[in-house]
Symmetry: C2
């Protein structure tokens, strides 16, 4: 972009500032997810509290990105590809903000679960799922910063695994509940947690699609892998 | 806006076209929610199928709104309040698109539920909740078109009732599951449906906040009513 005139350079500088905020937001969201699943597994109420309170900073960053993006559009009147870049930044910030909300919700539920009898094996599986999703986020943010469509496509394909982990957990929770109804309350919360982590994976996929759009000018075609089939099957009943 | 010059008039005309698409999108989403809860209650698999297939039109409208909004920004380079208006239109379209996804997911689950024994009273309560949320959407779209901050504030306050309906259902489902474990699979799906309807209500609230921002230039202060307390209480266990 060095050959552009001084207005383009000002645009690039503003855009870089926005992308730096997105990187920072992404780091906070990744940490929030890891901390939330760790707090769940170790029943660490203090850590869960820090995750809950930390969401305010993530929200503030999104607000800031929106303001800066609007200012950039108003000031520099970018066209075509540049405008697309700014709008994508806003979409990615919105997706990260939602992921932060999911981490916060997860931390809230982990507080509740710390007062209930543990469900065998559940929190370990959820931690592994959280770790997988955090890696997806990390990869998609790398892909975003480097406009790397191949890496983004990898993230998109990887969502399948997260969905499979969720499907497995869904069936496990059903089994636990049927075997011992005293597990029901805890399993309902654990199930929501697993679903919310799966949704973070969906957001990583949506971000990957934005990156592919930015890098290639076209959205990937409609064969997006989708493997959460619990909405369309009876779960354990049809297994 | 009649006193503005011809560029402003072109902006207004483009904006009106976008708002007409939002109105159409809103109507489709409202109908999808009503049809989905009706299909659930009457076990109407054909109607559920129409809701599932109808989501493509909602998605296409959002895509179209995004393209038109980007075109409008690029072509007319709106500043300050006008830019805010266009960005709000994109945010509202994104919220409606998600609400459409929830209706589609609801229709998928209603197919699954039609093969399971009914859970007493559940689908009637869910239909009432769906109706309440559809009215919230209708009201917030009216508020948007007329830039009516008071009406938007009413929607925002009304979300409390939807949250209460959800809390009541959450406890009912827990009770049903504990009383008879053969209800567990069905209740898990019903619970997701109720949660998704509650999320549509949250989106209506977020849209209401956009309308207040558009009409007054400021987001409402932080005391947004939030009454889904199932994430922070043990549900029936703490009642």
């Amino acid at each position: 972009m060095t050959s552009k005139n001084h207005i383009a350079t000002a645009f690039d500088r503003d855009l870089e500032a926005i992308q730096a905020m997105i990187t920072r937001m992404g780091g906070l969201v990744e940490a929030a997810i890891l901390d939330a699943v760790r707090a769940l597994e170790t029943r660490d109420v203090d850590l869960a509290g820090r995750v809950r309170r930390g969401d305010a900073e993530i929200d503030a960053l999104e607000e800031r990105i929106n303001i800066e993006a609007a200012r950039l559009i108003a000031l520099r009147a970018p066209t075509a590809a540049d405008l697309r870049t700014v709008l994508s930044a806003m979409k990615i910030a919105a997706a990260l903000e939602r992921c932060g909300d999911y981490a916060k919700n997860l931390a809230k539920r982990s507080d509740v679960l710390s007062c209930m009898p543990p469900v065998e094996g559940a929190t370990g599986s959820i931690r592994r799922m959280g770790k997988a999703v955090q890696l997806q986020l990390k990869q998609v943010l790398d892909a975003y910063i480097h406009r790397d469509a191949d890496l983004a496509e990898e993230v998109r394909q990887g969502d399948h695994e997260v969905d499979q982990m969720y499907n497995t957990l869904f069936r496990e929770f059903l089994t636990h509940m049927m075997e011992d109804p005293s597990n029901i309350s805890a399993c309902m919360h654990l199930h929501f947690i697993a679903k919310n982590i799966e949704r973070v994976g969906d957001h990583a996929t949506a971000m990957a699609e934005q990156v592919i759009y930015l890098a290639t000018g076209a959205l990937p075609d409609g064969d997006r892998p989708k493997a959460d089939n619990t909405a369309s099957t009876g779960g354990v009943a049809r297994r």
